[in-house]
């Protein structure tokens, strides 16, 4: 029992870690809570589903889903948020626009694909592979491996590359970055591209395991957001480990709380963390 639990914790932790990291990357650089980011999670999964349905190979479909997800994130920034930033819109206004985008995208997906659950791979249920302490399906293991690898690459890129450092500078102080000659709009666009690609991949990997519905992204938003806040949005690595912790807590919570209540417990945790962290949640310094 404990062995299977530890496997479930690892699988959930890698998945939520990637979502939290992606959420932190875009929200910290753009300086507002980008809730429509979760629509990219759903969009990536549905694009891959459509491509597989038209006979495109699985790997090419996944790549297609990630590219379209990334492009959709960039389009959101170029069409909506860049304009709002140029008008000096507050984070509150940008958040509202993000909610508008979320509702629109989610409704369009629902309109085109219906509300029922679809299976991404359209294959019979897989047999679990016996590991040292329990069982996991090959899809779950592959998803965990890909999530972990992509998260490590993003963390290294954001820490060691020039582009990553520019993103950090823009997130810390956009005004000063602009004064130092950094093109902040371009940096934010890069953050949208990378984070949206990672988010779309997260959606595809989840869809491969449990299928896809138009509302799958909203749940990802809440757990990813709670994880990123728990770790702290001011550091990508801490946000990632916050997501990992939420994944672990979710699995442990499922052991001690009745099934229907552990989700509520995560939402409650989200509020507590947000209130406890106060305005420092997005890296804002309080004198």
């Amino acid at each position: 029992m404990e062995g299977q639990l530890s496997i479930n914790v690892c699988l959930a932790a890698t998945h939520y870690g990637l979502i939290a990291l992606s959420f932190a990357l875009v929200s910290r650089t753009a300086k507002f809570f980008h809730v429509a980011h979760c629509a990219i999670f759903t969009l990536g999964a549905y694009i891959t589903f459509t491509l597989i349905g038209t006979g495109v190979g699985s790997v090419a479909s996944v790549v297609g889903g990630v590219i379209v997800g990334s492009a959709a994130g960039c389009a959101m920034d170029l069409i909506v948020f860049q304009r709002l930033r140029r008008r000096g819109a507050s984070p509150e206004i940008q958040l509202l626009a993000s909610f508008g985008l979320l509702v629109t995208l989610q409704s369009l997906i629902s309109l085109f694909f219906g509300n029922e659950r679809h299976s991404l791979l359209n294959q019979p249920a897989e047999m679990g592979i016996s590991l040292l302490w329990g069982h996991a399906t090959p899809t779950q293991l592959l998803a965990a491996g890909v999530s972990l690898s992509v998260a490590v690459v993003i963390l290294l890129w954001s820490r060691l590359s020039t582009a990553g450092l520019i993103l950090k500078a823009v997130g810390d102080d956009p005004g000063l970055s602009l004064a130092r000659g950094i093109r902040t709009d371009r940096a934010i666009l890069i953050a949208f591209a990378v984070a949206s690609g990672a988010m779309a991949l997260g959606g595809i990997l989840q869809a491969a395991d449990v299928g896809l519905t138009p509302l799958m992204g909203f749940q990802a938003l809440l757990v990813g957001f709670a994880g990123a806040l728990l770790g702290g949005l001011d550091s990508n690595a801490r946000a990632y480990f916050g997501g990992v912790a939420i994944g672990g807590l979710e699995q442990l919570g499922a052991m001690f709380l009745p099934g229907q209540w552990y989700e509520s417990a995560i939402y409650l945790l989200l509020i507590i963390v947000l209130v406890a962290r106060g305005r420092r949640a997005l890296g804002e310094r309080i004198e």
């Binding site: 819109a89 369009l108 509020i271 209130v275």
Partner: protein, 298 residues
């Protein structure tokens, strides 16, 4: 004719709800994304009292207002620590938490099955069966909501709220107890949302969690923002417009499976368009234009 009255009732209930949101968001800068959850608390309170204890709307409405105000306390606690988008995200968490309670506290709320056959008893042996009478009640509630908002926003209390909204540090420097003011406005806002929920439960005679989800909260916020969240009548205008437009779609012969997501998409696009082009809302922008024209002519 009954159908027209139905639209008036729904518009009246949503107008009260949008006014309750504009009271906290427009006057004090506390935009909550949990109005549907507080509305749900009011609706469930009335439904439970009417079904289990046989208390009519006249008794259920004040109880719903009180319980909804109490349910707003966590929002007030969040407001004391958070502002702007941080507060909005905390209210989003609270909305989803309460929606999850409606869904999962099966012993009380009956979960997804909901509470049915709520009597339409107003007082003692006075039952309402026609939509025209209910439409009057809904209109009275929305006018009363605007009246309360007007009284609160025009006096000294309102001036402090405006100061908190525009610059909290000035209100602090003037020695105002910001937490108390935020607490009070969120209680009043919650009570109005609870009253709207109470009327909704009595009118529909059925409540289930699907009416109090985050999507409903976004719809209510869109109504208030489209009309003009800082104006008194703007939310009423927004509610009337956004209740009417989907009803017009009903006559176009679009099947329900298409119409429902299409409604949501319209709300989403309306929200983006207004936020990008008319951030003050329809009425707020019209007022602003009229004021600037007056200044020019003077």
């Amino acid at each position: 004719m009954e159908y027209l009255f139905h639209i008036v009732i729904i518009a009246g209930i949503y107008a009260s709800l949008a006014v309750s949101l504009s009271l906290s968001a427009g006057q004090a800068g506390l935009l909550s994304l949990a109005p549907a959850a507080i509305f749900g608390v009011g609706a469930y309170t009335t439904a439970l009292l009417a079904s289990n204890v046989d208390i009519p709307l006249a008794g259920g409405l004040p109880c719903a207002m009180a319980i909804a105000a109490v349910a707003s306390i966590p929002l007030a606690v969040a407001a004391s620590r958070l502002r702007g988008d941080h507060f909005i995200m905390a209210t989003l968490g609270y909305q989803v938490f309460l929606a999850s309670v409606f869904e999962n506290w099966v012993d009380v709320t009956k979960g997804p099955l909901g509470l049915a056959s709520i009597p339409r008893r107003i007082f003692d042996s006075w039952y309402i069966s026609s939509n025209s009478e209910f439409a009057c009640l809904a209109l009275v509630l929305s006018v009363l909501s605007v009246f309360v908002a007007m009284r609160l926003s025009n006096g000294a209390f309102g001036r402090v709220l405006h100061c908190i909204r525009d610059d909290e540090s000035i209100a602090l420097a003037l020695g105002k107890d910001i937490r108390r003011f935020k607490f009070q406005i969120l209680m009043v806002s919650g009570a109005i949302a609870g009253a709207a929920g109470s009327l909704y439960a009595t009118y529909t005679t059925f409540v289930d969690p699907s009416a109090f989800t985050i999507n409903e909260s976004i719809v209510v916020a869109t109504m208030a923002i489209v009309g003009g969240i800082r104006t008194l009548w703007g939310p009423v205008l927004g509610a009337a417009a956004l209740v009417l437009i989907p009803e017009l779609l009903r006559f176009s012969g679009i099947p329900h499976t298409v119409a429902a997501p299409l409604h949501q998409a319209i709300f989403g696009v309306a929200l983006i368009w207004i936020v990008m082009n008319l951030p003050q809302g329809l009425l707020g922008s019209a007022k602003g234009k009229a004021l600037s024209q007056n200044r020019k002519t003077k």
